[in-house]
């Protein structure tokens, strides 16, 4: 049922922070034992959450080196992170975490900054680098370009690929009232190497990307749209937050994987 595994490397270690004198990244034995077991059995890809590529004032060379070290150990087929930021410098100059992935305005200034950071990152990670389209509950007025235009330009300027999260797209389209199919028509689907699907729910009057269960029907419809039109797509990942497992159960996860696989087989062959 599972053809490849996408792991979030950040969850496999405790990061004692940039100020740690030694042993900044302490790996969790039980987690790495599982990874050691998995890499011998199926391809593994890395989906990190700590690069904070959209931050105007954040660079963490040790973190990048830790990721590179894991690439050497585990041979990840590709590496992805998010088009957003989570780290800023507080007014007192200390690291401050946003507590969530904060969206970026799609401006030329931001494009230049993120493209530059990805260009600097790519030689350090020995695999293709993918950027994931963001989920955003805010809309910024007067942006220089649309999200598909921004992503297309980012691909051109940085040499990255796209991790197209269809649930993020669905969430944004639903909350902000735009047509997800039109978004797909304007996105360079040849740059899409991985697709994420997931489920969500309502929080504070908005539909959110909570990874809480089954994919909604519109996400399946978007997957049907994308699969025949993304020639470089290599895999579809179902994202699910383990805290919902007692409710959703193994059967629930299995059903989502089976449906995704059936759609993949119909469009791309077994």
């Amino acid at each position: 049922m599972v053809d490849f595994l996408s792991i979030m490397p950040d969850l496999f270690w405790t990061d004692h922070g940039t100020g740690a004198e030694k042993n900044r990244f302490v790996e969790l034995d039980s987690w790495t034992e599982f990874l050691d077991w998995a890499v011998g059995r199926m391809p593994v890809v890395a989906h990190s959450i700590g690069l904070s590529l959209g931050s105007a004032a954040f660079d963490d060379d040790d973190y990048v080196e830790q990721l590179a070290d894991w690439h050497r150990r585990y041979g990840f087929l590709w590496h992805s992170d998010h088009l957003s930021f989570a780290q800023v410098r507080s007014a007192s100059g200390h690291e401050q975490h946003a507590g969530m992935a904060v969206p970026l305005p799609y401006d030329f200034e931001v494009l230049d900054m993120v493209a530059g950071r990805i260009r600097a990152l790519r030689p350090k990670l020995p695999s293709p680098f993918l950027i994931e389209n963001a989920v955003t509950y805010l809309r910024f007025a007067d942006e220089d370009m649309s999200e598909p235009e921004f992503l297309n330009a980012l691909v051109r300027q940085s040499g990255c690929f796209i991790l197209l999260d269809l649930h993020n797209l669905h969430t944004n389209a639903r909350n902000h009232g735009f047509d997800a199919l039109d978004f797909l028509r304007r996105l360079d689907l040849a740059a899409v190497m991985e697709v994420h699907i997931a489920g969500g729910g309502e929080i504070a009057g908005m539909y959110t990307d909570s990874h809480s269960g089954a994919c909604p029907e519109p996400v399946w419809a978007l997957l049907e749209e994308v699969l025949p039109r993304a020639p470089n797509l290599k895999g579809v990942t179902f994202e699910f937050h383990d805290s919902y497992f007692p409710v959703f159960g193994a059967a629930g996860v299995h059903a989502e994987l089976a449906r995704a696989k059936s759609i993949w087989s119909r469009h791309r062959g077994p």
């Binding site: 405790t14 990061d15 004692h16 922070g17 940039t18 302490v26 790996e27 969790l28 034995d29 039980s30 959209g54 931050s55 105007a56 004032a57 930021f85 989570a86 780290q87 800023v88 410098r89 507080s90 007014a91 200390h94 690291e95 401050q96 975490h97 946003a98 507590g99 969530m100 904060v102 305005p105 200034e109 931001v110 900054m113 955003t136 509950y137 805010l138 809309r139 910024f140 007025a141 007067d142 909350n175 929080i203 504070a204 009057g205 908005m206 959110t208």
Partner: protein
């Protein structure tokens, strides 16, 4: 600088519904501390009216409370109605540093200890449950394999020689019956009071799973005396269960000193036979 300041302002808004309300009231004054372009200022003044900003504030609070509630569930239950004002006071006092679960929980633990020491926490159990959960969390995130290899390289502990607590074990002091207290916390049914009884338990993940051993009274007293600067006592003979469970190891030169996590935060180590 401008984009950096814009991002910091956005983070501050997500973290503070009060700041969002202040920007709604008077964006010029509320954003005066940030270096912004006119477009950035207008954007921030606009997003605080969007429904999505409430969602962001909710998500921030949910994401920030998750480590504390996940890793300190008994402590949260003991705090009861005081939990919300205390966690909000903590959030006002400390930014969400690096976003790491363990460091956020440790920082909240330090904050709460101070409040307990100042008499600002009503629950009589909060201190010992906090000590228990911080010790349990620390053990859960330790590199177990490396610690076991380190201990395997040591000579077998000799009752007549200095010994120390296993690096994968922690001692926690209780001032109420630990069995009754932990059972009640696990059941979510903490009573208003329990009879006071000093006790010392040792948590361990030596076998892979968490085990909890209560130290016999003579050994507990010996530990306290040692911790308070008194003579060193033969712990292996006073607490043979610890020795049998492999929780006492030969003291390695320069090794880390295990401490009693609890009301006094006294340290003890290297129990020498007299």
């Amino acid at each position: 600088m401008s984009l950096e300041s814009f991002q910091r302002a956005l983070c501050d808004l997500v973290a503070s519904p009060d700041l969002c309300l202040a920007v709604r009231e008077d964006s010029g004054a509320a954003l005066a501390a940030y270096t912004l372009t006119a477009r950035e200022r207008e954007r921030l003044a606009a997003v605080v009216w969007q429904r999505g900003m409430s969602t962001n504030c909710t998500l921030y609070r949910s994401n920030r409370i998750t480590p504390v509630y996940t890793l300190l569930p008994f402590t949260c239950r003991a705090l009861g109605g005081q939990f919300q004002p205390l966690i909000e006071a903590f959030w006002r006092a400390r930014v969400f540093g690096d976003g790491q679960f363990l460091s956020e929980v440790d920082r909240f633990g330090m904050f709460l200890r101070r409040r307990i020491a100042e008499g600002g926490v009503a629950s009589p159990f909060a201190g010992e449950l906090l000590a228990f959960e911080l010790a349990r969390n620390e053990l859960a995130f330790l590199p177990r394999k490396a610690a076991l290899e380190r201990v395997a390289a040591l000579p077998a502990p000799d009752p007549a020689a200095p010994c120390a607590l296993h690096p994968l074990a922690r001692a926690v002091a209780f001032s109420h019956d630990p069995v009754a207290l932990l059972d009640a916390a696990a059941a979510g049914a903490l009573p208003p009071a329990l009879p006071e009884r000093a006790a010392l338990v040792v948590l361990s993940v030596v076998t892979g799973a968490l085990t909890v051993l209560q130290i016999p009274e003579p050994a507990r007293l010996a530990c306290r005396l040692t911790a308070e600067g008194g003579a060193l006592w033969p712990l292996a003979s006073l607490a043979p269960d610890l020795a049998r469970a492999g929780l006492l190891v030969a003291a390695a030169a320069g090794g880390t000193a295990p401490g009693i996590c609890g009301e006094s935060m006294l340290e003890f180590t290297n129990f020498r036979a007299p």
